[in-house]
Point group: C2
Chain length 340, copies 2
């Protein structure tokens, strides 16, 4: 047995030999174990530095049974909202010393979600964050390996899994009440796709605000979050000739579409029709006119979900069946005004 192949990166035993100690002492230095003589510690550290040693986290994961990796299942992560959520999660996880492994799905269905979870579980993640904005996604939690810590973001609260979400209902209330406060008789609503929990929450908040003010609740128009669907909804609103004076649109992209439909036909916003969006995408401030909207704090959602998940991991997978709600914020701009 000759000397270890020089081209292979050094392992703990190499450091041990170089420092004249046992591999275990090296391990102790690396793990900040208290009982190591200061002189020994510096000798080991010096050897580590000299050899350019880096600890093999895979071997470590094998024995500790912790990979310090979290899995994230996302959906449509090129959209601003989901992208920001995933980004918030990633930042928070890294700040806590965890790696993040991401699976981004194109379509949400229970099977795809289940596959994604299995896939991440196989990889040995310590916990999973599922961004589960659709009803069908929530069911996928049933297939979680037993004892696997998990948290749902923007999901519903049925199973055992804790949920972190923005207060969609409250946000929609803010939007609707703002419009009512400006003197509008009622508020129309362009909602997101019906199987999305966020869409549902926003519709619910809108309806609740109207009802508690004793106003008539108009029929909702439904879009798919895209600017195009907003445009189509806008054209349908135009067809209602004069009835409509205020619209709460379930996201900013659709609001952009509505804006274009109205502007094309010479309808002035906000003089003739007021519009409120949801999300506060970076573009919203520069729409024509700048869009009044509801801002979601995606960073807080990310931080909270990681916090809940790590707490769960700390307790060994036992979860506390909690629901954490992040409040949204009203952002006033120029797409709303009082009548006349």
């Amino acid at each position: 047995m000759g000397p270890r192949d020089e081209r292979r990166s050094p392992v703990m035993a190499d450091v041990a030999k170089a420092a004249g100690v046992s591999h275990q002492t090296v391990s102790r230095v690396l793990n900040d174990h208290p009982n190591v003589r200061a002189e020994t510690r510096t000798r080991v550290l010096e050897a580590i530095d000299r050899l350019g040693y880096r600890r093999n986290l895979v071997a470590r994961a094998l024995v500790t049974r912790h990979s310090r990796t979290l899995g994230v299942v996302g959906f449509n992560t090129t959209l601003y909202g989901p992208a920001s959520t995933v980004d918030g999660i990633e930042q928070a996880a890294r700040a806590a010393g965890y790696f993040v492994s991401i699976v981004s799905l194109r379509t949400i269905d229970t099977a795809g979600m289940r596959d994604a979870i299995d896939y991440l579980a196989d990889q040995g993640v310590d916990g999973i964050v599922v961004v589960a904005p659709q009803r069908s996604a929530a069911r996928a939690f049933e297939s979680l390996p037993r004892g696997m810590p998990a948290v749902a973001v923007e999901g519903q609260h049925e199973g055992e899994v804790p949920v972190v979400s923005v207060d969609q209902v409250g946000g929609a209330r803010l939007a609707t009440e703002h419009l009512l406060g400006l003197g509008h008789e009622t508020v129309w609503h362009v909602s997101g796709p019906s199987d999305w929990l966020e869409a549902e929450g926003r519709t619910e908040g809108w309806r609740a605000a109207l009802e508690s003010a004793g106003r008539t609740v108009p029929e909702t128009l439904t879009g798919d979050w895209s600017p195009r669907s907003g445009y189509l909804a806008g054209r349908r609103l135009l067809a209602m000739a004069g009835q409509v004076t205020a619209v709460f649109v379930a996201n900013d992209q659709m609001a952009l579409g509505v804006l274009r439909a109205l502007t094309e036909e010479g309808v002035k916003v906000p003089e003739q029709i007021s519009i409120v969006g949801f999300d506060d995408i970076p573009e919203a401030e520069f729409f024509l006119p700048p869009l009044t909207t509801i801002r979601q704090d995606f960073g807080a959602v990310g931080r909270n979900s990681i916090e809940v998940l790590l707490r769960q991991i700390g307790r060994g997978g036992e979860c506390e069946r909690e629901r954490l709600i992040v409040p949204p914020r009203f952002v006033a701009r120029s797409s709303t005004s009082s009548l006349r």
Copy 2:
């Protein structure tokens, strides 16, 4: 030594015992080794199924020295462009059977980039994709562990690392030539931040198109990709009273800002000033007016980069110092027209 704890998930040895074979035979079945009797194989598979066995990929990674995980270093991944690039990479990697571990940076500096690469290397990734849109990011490649396969996306081609990128220069040429073709005497340019390679490429293409047409090259205005900076640039363009008839803006978000600045002052687009953007974000089609722009194929960039990276991994880290260019596409809409 009693029977293995029931609560612990089964390992290969458990399957072996259940199927009445050795663990090695189980391994062979799992790895599709040819020399296993059909009857044995089914017995093993049946045992795997019955016990709900899942192979421990961490242990596997330790011995094979392959984690089947790729690292991605991204930057500002909430923006549409970067988010789409990362998404394309993730899709392509997963299709090839690789996990994706992502680090998303907020600021690009050599140190942060270096840390991110170290971080991923520690985790034992098989290769790294660096989305390196800034000059300073490119330098971080020097700190790549030797033998670590890597590919740069939207980076420059100096070091040993292959690069995959969109043809920014060509895209900018398309935009500029389109405007010249409409009869504009020259084309103004709102560029991205100067240390961004993409910004540089777009400026270069714009300049080249003007020069080869023998036109004067106006002073460029510089933004930071944000709608706000576009708005400010727009105001400065307005101050040039009448000189400006056509503008190539380096991305769609800034183009939105320019659009707002012009519209606010009653300048008509495209009647008085024509505008072309870059990226084709989903909103662009619904700007007022719908934005003529250059579309980047982020999916292709992702697929290509993974392909290059996997080829490199297959060769054992030896790289081929290539540069792969993805062509952009001109998308005609309503923000441009000929003069008068």
